[in-house]
């Protein structure tokens, strides 16, 4: 695997930019549409994902030498579902105010492709520290994507941010409905591709002038 030669910092950056879960890999698109109709929802979902992603990567990497490759899939499932349940129960008991805010999001994470994908593609083949860094990067990348998508959806759909009204006038209701999620994700993905192309062009141009 090419990842092995990357430094930890490069691994984190990789998750945020080059292999961004939503805008680059296009996995876990379901939450990027279902829970991004307000900035608050998007933010809490992202934070929850960082936590679960890091813990799952850490555990899978720790037990990778004890798991027979033939049964890795059910083991990953258990690790993910187990962490989600543990976090859910612990928060319900000891962090009641936080639980009220993000309890709903935590439970949804069981079914996220992005968590599973990183366990399968990265954590099971790499050392613990690298896996944790990969988890941090992927999680932050996911969080940023969620924040960007929900920022635009709430701003255009409700004229508000984090529940506080910002713009008065008639908002575009479609932006907070599921259809708006597709528009937002599609347009933003297109925008980032365009930025990528421009950057590549500029790089090519500077190289030729040299």
């Amino acid at each position: 695997m090419a990842h092995i030669h990357k430094s930890n910092w490069e691994l984190i950056k990789n998750g945020i930019f080059a292999e961004n879960t939503i805008f680059r890999m296009a996995i876990s698109l379901c939450p990027s549409i279902a829970v991004t109709n307000s900035l608050k929802n998007g933010f809490f979902m992202g934070v929850s994902v960082i936590f679960v992603q890091v813990m799952v990567n850490l555990t899978v990497s720790l037990i990778r030498n004890f798991v027979n490759p033939k049964i890795r899939i059910p083991i990953f499932m258990m690790v993910i579902a187990g962490y989600v349940s543990i976090i859910d129960m612990t928060m319900a008991a000891w962090a009641r105010p936080v639980y009220k805010q993000i309890g709903l999001y935590i439970q949804l994470i069981v079914a996220f492709a992005s968590i599973f994908a990183r366990a399968e593609v990265f954590a099971v083949k790499n050392k613990v520290v690298s896996s944790v860094c990969d988890g941090v990067g992927m999680g932050i990348g996911f969080l940023l994507a969620m924040i960007i998508i929900s920022f635009f959806r709430e701003l255009f759909g409700k004229g508000a941010l984090w529940g506080f009204p910002i713009v008065s006038g008639n908002p575009l209701l479609i932006m907070v409905l599921p259809a708006g999620g597709f528009f937002a994700v599609g347009l933003l993905m297109g925008f980032f591709n365009w930025v990528d192309m421009k950057l590549a062009e500029r790089k090519a141009a500077t190289e030729t002038t040299e």
Binding site: M78, I86, A92, L104
Partner: protein, 302 residues
């Protein structure tokens, strides 16, 4: 080349590893899987065992706190107690001695609103010592304001307003502490509160609903649910809960689109809206109406 040949070839190249797998390998894999699952299961069981009592306690505290907000004008919100033949049996199973049981059997079968009143009655009839000794068993067994929507335990309460609240101040001679005891004179039922459960999209929605004496809805408070964030969790919001105000049982119907006398569904969350309206709230109000219609008659409780 026939189709069968192609099939055989692909089968061979794909199943290379599988063909070599011996019984020993299979056993190894099975043991591997079982061991890891048992460890995972044990960890989960441990976490559950430590957190669930705290979770339950916190949930109960939140319910009590929510209960106080359901009818701000009420002075007391109380459960209903009654001595019935069935509950006497369960008291006996809890280990209360026979002489107390015989005393209980002779007592009247009237209703008592509020545990203080009920305990006062017991103290008077069977003696302070005995009633204090078995207080927790009595309160648990003789409470009749329980019901079971979706086979889950839920409670209902009577909200009362006092014509006059007398505050008795007693000073503890040893410690010098001043204790305040409130006595309610001339209590009047002003409404009822029920806890309810509704089957939503991805969870049971647990809520409290308060009604006035005519059984029109006053207030709703969602205690717990796990509906989809961004869609179903809108049921917690005030704008939706306001739609229930002053609705009678017949009007607790979900309608898509604007409505004046019915309940408008949340767009994108019809199932959750239905669960709250037609399952939890409507059944709760219906139950209250059935059990308490005409009020808990004055005179049937002291």
């Amino acid at each position: 080349m026939s189709l069968e040949d192609v099939h055989c070839k692909t089968e061979f190249s794909k199943g290379d590893a599988g063909a070599k797998m011996t019984a020993k390998d299979m056993l190894k894999i099975t043991v591997n899987l079982v061991v890891i699952y048992i460890i995972g299961g044990l960890i989960l069981a441990l976490v559950y065992a430590t957190t669930s009592p705290i979770m339950f306690k916190k949930g109960e505290e939140e319910k009590q706190a929510a209960l106080k907000t359901m009818m701000p004008e009420a002075d007391t919100i109380s459960a209903i107690y009654q001595i019935t033949d069935d509950s006497i049996k369960s008291v006996r199973n809890e280990g209360v001695p026979d002489d107390v049981i015989t005393q209980l059997k002779n007592l009247s079968k009237e209703w008592f609103i509020g545990k203080d009143k009920f305990l006062g009655f017991l103290q008077e009839k069977i003696g302070t010592e005995k009633s204090n000794q078995y207080e927790s068993i009595f309160l648990k067994s003789f409470k009749i304001s329980d019901w079971y929507p979706h086979k889950k335990h839920a409670e209902y309460y009577v909200a009362q307003k006092c014509a006059e609240v007398k505050v008795k101040k007693t000073t503890d001679e040893k410690t010098g502490e001043v204790k305040e005891e409130k006595e309610c004179i001339g209590p009047q039922d002003i409404g009822y509160i029920a806890e309810g459960f509704g089957k939503g999209y991805s969870s049971y929605i647990n809520l409290l609903v308060s009604v006035d004496k005519d059984f029109t809805v006053k207030k709703i408070s969602i205690l717990h649910h796990a509906e989809t964030p961004g869609l179903g969790d809108e049921i917690e919001k005030d704008y939706f809960l306001k739609r229930f105000e002053n609705k009678s049982v017949d009007n607790l119907v979900v309608v898509k689109g604007e409505t004046k006398d019915k309940v408008e569904a949340i767009s994108g969350a019809t199932i959750s809206s239905r669960a709250v309206t037609e399952d939890a709230v409507r059944n709760g109000v219906k139950m209250l109406k059935e059990k308490l219609s005409g009020g808990v008659k004055d005179g049937s409780h002291s």
